[in-house]
Amino acid sequence: MAADCLQWWLDGTGFTKNIDVKWLRGNNEVIVAENVNIERFEERLGLENFDKKLTKNGDFAEYKNELQRQFVDGVFRELYYVCGTSTITSKANFKITRVKDNFVLSGTIIHYWWDRYDWHKGANTYINGFGYINDSDALLVEKHCGARPYEMRSQWQQSFNKTFQSGFFGGLSIKLK
């Protein structure tokens, strides 16, 4: 994948490259980042006090929010050579419904992974076995050989349909995983 991305840059079309979801999620750091955002949604959902807002059978509320996680893989992993640091933006869209004494959460989280394959004057990149390579070298390739920066992206969706009970002392402990 790293060689493929390098070739895309050398080809110089500047077109956005869609990165295969299966390959991307095969990297542990991506799953860790995805889970960080899911846990943050769990915390936020717990603070919404749905058990107090939804008092009657059939009452429902919507919850929409988005969170971002930055991450970088280790220098021995291929993902590092694909993107260095990259971002996952997770957009949640849930409906929480009271069904008697339970609360049903249904909806989706769409995860958008993205990064720009580019180089910055004055920066450098560590390549295992070669040491630090100046970004200015890559910028020379862009100037004289027609290579061009481009956007990389990928997206996937998780669907949820879970039932929760209010705790003895009130409050909802929402676990999405």
Partner: protein, 115 residues
């Protein structure tokens, strides 16, 4: 401690080491000339919606040290202050949930992006 806007650290020269433990190295406090345009205008609304406690003293926003030390979360708040789509989604959510306490304020913020 004082709430300051946080941005992605584009100047990170070294490979990030132990990035899970030292996650803050991926971010930086914005310099005065880097502060996103709507940050101070919209940040209080974002903090309220994100259940982030804060106080205002002499016009300065303060949050707990442990919150300010989570640069990524403050970066999330910072980017939201300039994310029109997020404000629109909150407006639509409030409408569906029948919560009209914030309608005027949200409309003012959304209008502010257009002006």
């Amino acid at each position: 401690m004082e709430l300051r806007p946080v941005l992605v650290n584009e100047d990170l020269r070294e490979p990030a080491l132990f990035s899970e433990t030292f996650h803050n190295q991926l971010f930086k406090i914005a310099k005065p000339n880097e502060i996103p345009p709507n940050f101070y205008k919209n940040i209080k609304w974002v903090l309220q919606r994100e259940h982030q406690d804060y106080i205002v003293k002499n016009g300065v926003i303060y949050i707990r040290y442990k919150y300010m030390n989570d640069y990524e979360m403050i970066w999330n708040h910072t980017t939201k202050t300039n994310n029109l789509e997020w404000f629109k989604s909150q407006r639509s959510m409030d409408r569906i949930n029948g919560e009209d306490n914030n309608t005027e304020e949200l409309d003012r913020i959304i209008k502010g992006f257009r002006d």
